[in-house]
């Protein structure tokens, strides 16, 4: 019996090294002969580069080399590629303008890199980067999506008319219009999903090396998916074949999506390592992260919900403008489309849905996936309009949800908007969450708060999301330019210990623990006999990495598949040793047993036999015990659940305090409940951050006003409440683990619960909707305006 197997809250194996300062993050490494790179970046949102003079800077102390876009172009270095292609309504492909590694001719956002200085020390590189003399012609920038598509707006790319990257739609327009024609009422809502800066605590960093004798390049980089970086950078940018390019992502200090993407700095460093013939290290300052890491969200939407008199949803139509920033980041086009619009059915039986998305270039940092990626935007829109519908119809907020839920016996459920949900039970997660949050006791708490002069409100969201990305054929049909399976290689050593090589990458998720639990459970061997290896293209055969809550459902399933192969081979060896037929040998609790007898062989006996094949079916079976599996999921997975938030507003200052937060999620199979709870809490903290605190604000022209933690509000311990987490799982029906995924649920489900609570708290102030973040200034503005209006009447 394995005690550290599936379902146990095993303490993390990663923790000892992180807690004792022995983590191995990219910036912790140094290479002999290492140089340091600093990028000279644009201070202007949009300008023509008239000239770049590096003469004086090149002569400065410690400078090894300075490279500009022209140097890279002269050697045929390609643009940074986009990994997802969307087609317009008319079938034509999206606009895909060149994204040069270092700017050529024009800069298109503040932070756009223009030159790379390589010097003996970082300070010397900084000194020289400052001394590069660049002449700009300012062209005037634009940051807001609505302004960017207006006639006469400055163009981000000369060849992209009206700054529109694509104009896409999904759903049955005619059926939706018919539904609206029959509506009792049409609920209309305009929403902005606020732009966010991911701010993983470890800034991006990289070290590039080139071995002149072998012609091999090595890049250590802060990535969630080193194989994807190798593929994109090797094949599209630098034209280095995979076998000459190694990409390593060691310990990575958080990602949240922002470290999925292939960034220009990685390519510039790798390319330059072969020029200076020395290792080159680059570590972003935080202020540099703010203007170079892909941002998240930034959608402006208009939504309309057609409802019947009894509150049944008849149809939904949505128009969204999605900010792409200045260039297309790796997965940017998928975020507002297939990761967002396809989710607009939510947990409801709305029969007709039609969504249109216009993706727009602006003079801002590229926008791409950030924890949840598209699904928080869809969930916020839906869960807000449902609350508004309840309000406009005079219905109870719980009742309108219950009335429209997809019933538990309706799965698999085909939504009108592409997705087929495999399992779920929304009534149960709602009921449990209402119970845990003591929803029924709220009115008493509201009264008690009122007695103290506080406005108390409660709000909920009932949501589903689509993750476990993704069935390759489906994703390919939708525009993905890569497969989205995962790979596992399981190497059983002669004495029975196991090394697992996985394409999933851990940067906080605790895979080294969870995956070891999974393997211990399935192979019946001790937890401490298992090593999980990830993040190195020279060790792991291949992999697609960690994002979209896919590591367990896709990566873990690949492990299960590989273990099935190991067990089958082990059974064959055992059958030979015990002179039994294969069908009579079963594997259980780490033992191969001949059914109905007391004859058995331990796992380690079989592994030893596999490597010392003296008594072995050598004619039929190769020696060794190592298997690789690629697992391509059959469908997305659909975690969901209910989040309930309770807030108190101080009407004198507008401050919103989250008093209670309760989440009951259906995440499918849980391997380690402790880690699952931590993932949910962390996601909710980011969701509360989005709802109340965080906002990347640009001025009209594209200057980032919240460009540091002095102005961008990061959630701190005293901004957040204790977060009560429960799980009510139904199993995923199409992967061997029943796992759905947990990485993003917190960030997806929580923002509308918070805003619904804030709106509820402001029930006496005539508030129908407010956009995030609900800052004190915004809340006070609402209260003050209402007070003035009342005084005037």
């Amino acid at each position: 019996m394995i005690v550290d197997g599936i379902g146990a809250s095993v303490k993390r194996v990663e923790d000892h090294r992180f807690l004792s300062g022995k983590g191995h993050y990219t910036d912790d490494m140094n290479r002999p002969g290492q140089t340091h790179a600093v990028f000279r970046r644009s201070d202007s949102p949009h300008a023509r580069i008239k000239s770049i003079d590096i003469a004086a800077a090149s002569k400065m102390a410690g400078v090894v080399a300075i490279f500009t876009g022209a140097d890279l172009a002269a050697e045929g270095v390609g643009g940074v590629p986009c990994g997802w292609q969307i087609h317009n309504k008319d079938g034509s492909p999206m606009a895909e303008p060149m994204h040069p590694v270092l700017a050529i001719d024009k800069v298109r956002h503040v932070g756009d890199p223009i030159a790379m200085v390589v010097a003996e020390t970082k300070q010397q590189a900084k000194d020289a980067a400052e001394a590069i003399n660049i002449e700009f012609e300012e062209l005037g920038g634009i940051s807001d999506v609505r302004a960017a598509i207006a006639p006469g707006a400055p163009l981000v790319h000369d060849d992209v008319a009206s700054n529109v990257c694509f104009d896409w739609h999904i759903g049955d327009k005619a059926a939706t219009e018919a539904a609206f024609a029959n509506a009792f009422k049409i609920i209309k809502l305009d929403l902005t999903n606020n732009r966010l800066v991911p701010n993983a605590m470890e800034p991006r960093a990289a070290i590039s090396e080139y071995d002149i004798s072998s012609g091999e390049y090595t890049l250590h980089t802060t990535s969630q998916n080193p194989h994807v970086i190798r593929l994109l950078m090797g094949a599209f940018v630098l034209h280095i074949p995979e076998h000459k390019l190694r990409v390593v992502a060691p310990d990575v200090g958080g990602g949240f999506g922002s470290k999925i993407f292939h960034y220009a700095e990685e390519a510039a460093l790798t390319w330059a390592a072969a020029k200076v013939l020395r290792p080159i290290k680059w570590t972003a300052d935080r202020s540099e992260s703010f203007i170079t890491d892909a941002h998240g969200r930034d959608h402006v939407s208009h939504a309309e919900l057609a409802v019947a008199e009894d509150g049944k949803f008849l149809g939904l139509r949505v128009e969204t403008l999605a900010n792409m920033g200045a260039y297309l980041s790796t997965f940017a086009p998928s975020v507002p489309t297939y990761l967002s619009a396809t989710l607009l059915a939510g947990v409801y039986t709305t029969p007709a849905i039609y969504a249109q998305v216009k993706a727009v270039f602006t003079h801002t940092v590229p926008v791409d996936a950030y924890r949840g990626a598209g699904r928080p935007e869809a969930t916020f829109l839906l869960e807000r309009i449902v609350d508004v519908a309840a309000r406009d119809l005079g219905m109870d907020r719980v009742e309108i949800r219950r009335k429209n839920f997809i019933p538990a016996d309706a799965f698999p459920y085909q939504t009108p908007i592409a997705l087929q949900y495999d399992s779920g039970d929304y009534q149960t997660t709602l009921r449990e969450c209402l119970r845990m949050a003591d929803y029924d006791g709220f009115e008493a708490r509201r009264k008690a708060a009122a007695a103290k002069g506080k406005l108390r409100g409660i709000g909920m969201s009932t949501y589903v999301e689509a993750c476990g990305i993704a069935p390759s054929a489906v994703a390919g049909a939708l525009g993905a330019r890569a497969g989205l399976y995962e790979v596992a290689n399981i190497r059983v050593h002669p004495t029975g210990s196991v090394t697992v090589f996985t394409g999933a990458h851990s940067h906080g998720q605790g895979h080294e623990t969870t995956f070891a639990q999974l393997v211990a459970d399935q192979l019946g061997i001790p937890f401490n006999q298992i090593e999980i290896v990830h993040g190195d293209t020279s060790k792991v055969p291949f992999g697609m990495g960690t994002y979209g809550s896919r590591s367990l459902s896709v990566g873990g399933s690949a492990m299960v598949k590989a273990m099935d192969k190991i067990i089958l081979k082990g059974r064959k060896i055992a059958a030979h040793l015990m002179e039994a037929s294969l069908d009579d040998v079963e594997f259980k609790d780490g033992k191969f047993t001949v059914t109905g007898t007391d004859k058995s062989k331990a796992f380690a006996e079989i592994s030893l036999t596999a490597y010392v094949p003296h008594n072995y079916p050598i004619e039929e079976l190769e020696p060794g015990l190592e298997e690789t599996a690629f697992y391509d999921p059959k469908n997305f997975t659909y975690p969901g659940g209910c989040h309930i938030c309770e807030v108190e507003i101080d009407p004198n200052t507008g401050t919103v305090a989250v008093i209670n937060f309760t989440a009951v999620d259906d995440v499918g199979r849980v391997i380690n409940p402790m880690i699952v709870e931590g993932q949910v809490q962390g996601g909710i903290a980011q969701g509360i951050g989005q709802a109340l605190l965080e906002h990347a604000i640009y001025d009209e022209s594209g200057q980032l006003l919240s460009g540091s933690m002095m102005d961008y509000t990061m959630p701190r311990a005293d901004d957040l409440p204790n977060i009560l987490v429960g799980t009510e799982s139904t199993m995923c029906t199409h992967n061997p683990l029943g796992a759905k995924g947990v990485g993003e649920v917190g960030a997806i489900g929580s923002p509308p619960a918070v805003i619904n609570a804030v709106v509820d708290a402001l029930r006496d102030y005539d508030v129908r909707h407010l956009d995030m973040p609900a800052t004190p200034a915004k809340i006070w503005g609402i209260i003050n305006a209402h007070t003035l209006k009342m005084a005037a009447e």
Binding site: D15, M674, L720
Partner: protein, 165 residues
């Protein structure tokens, strides 16, 4: 360049630094103590917190030369020689108070200072307020608060009352 000597984790250390070298740069780059991290450049995040002469400070906001002669303790100096973790480290592990591990060293150093400076008790509110200078992006702080609360009892040799979650 100035040559400075100081005591780090109980051992004498000396290094040649520039006047502009920050304490965190001395620790990471000259003394190879890379457990102390840098997460921001505006003294907000606290990933770089170390103890200097008994007080927790942000080593990114102190010049190395200012630490000449000082006693500095970093995350690497907490565990005992046989590898046994400090109670705060142990409670962080026990309560899953870390995920990616990047903010963790600074968080642990701050937490130890917080617990040491509150011998008479430490409420949840005090813990949350006391972590004002440390930002974690992964955990939502819930488990960090729990870990520090538990560590207070261990560090002050008191029995922790059994309480509901």
């Amino acid at each position: 360049m100035p040559q400075i000597s100081l005591t780090v984790n109980g051992k004498p250390a000396s290094a040649e630094v520039e006047s502009r070298t920050l304490l965190v740069e001395l620790l990471r780059e000259k003394l190879h103590l890379t457990g102390t991290h840098v997460g921001c450049d505006t003294s907000q995040c606290g990933a770089c917190v170390v103890e200097v002469d008994g007080k927790s400070v942000k080593s990114c906001t102190m010049l190395a030369v200012q630490a000449a002669g000082a006693h500095v303790t970093t995350i690497e100096g907490l565990a005992s020689a046989d590898g046994k973790l400090h109670p705060m480290q142990e409670m962080f592990r026990e309560h899953h108070a870390l995920q990616c591990g990047y903010c963790t060293p600074g968080m642990v150093m701050s937490a130890i200072d917080l617990v040491n400076s509150h011998p008479d008790g430490l409420s949840e509110e005090q813990i949350r307020h006391g972590l004002e200078g440390n930002i974690c992006r992964c955990t939502g702080y819930h488990n960090i608060v729990k870990a520090i609360h538990a560590a207070w009892f261990v560090m002050h040799g008191k029995e922790m009352p059994i309480a509901a979650e």
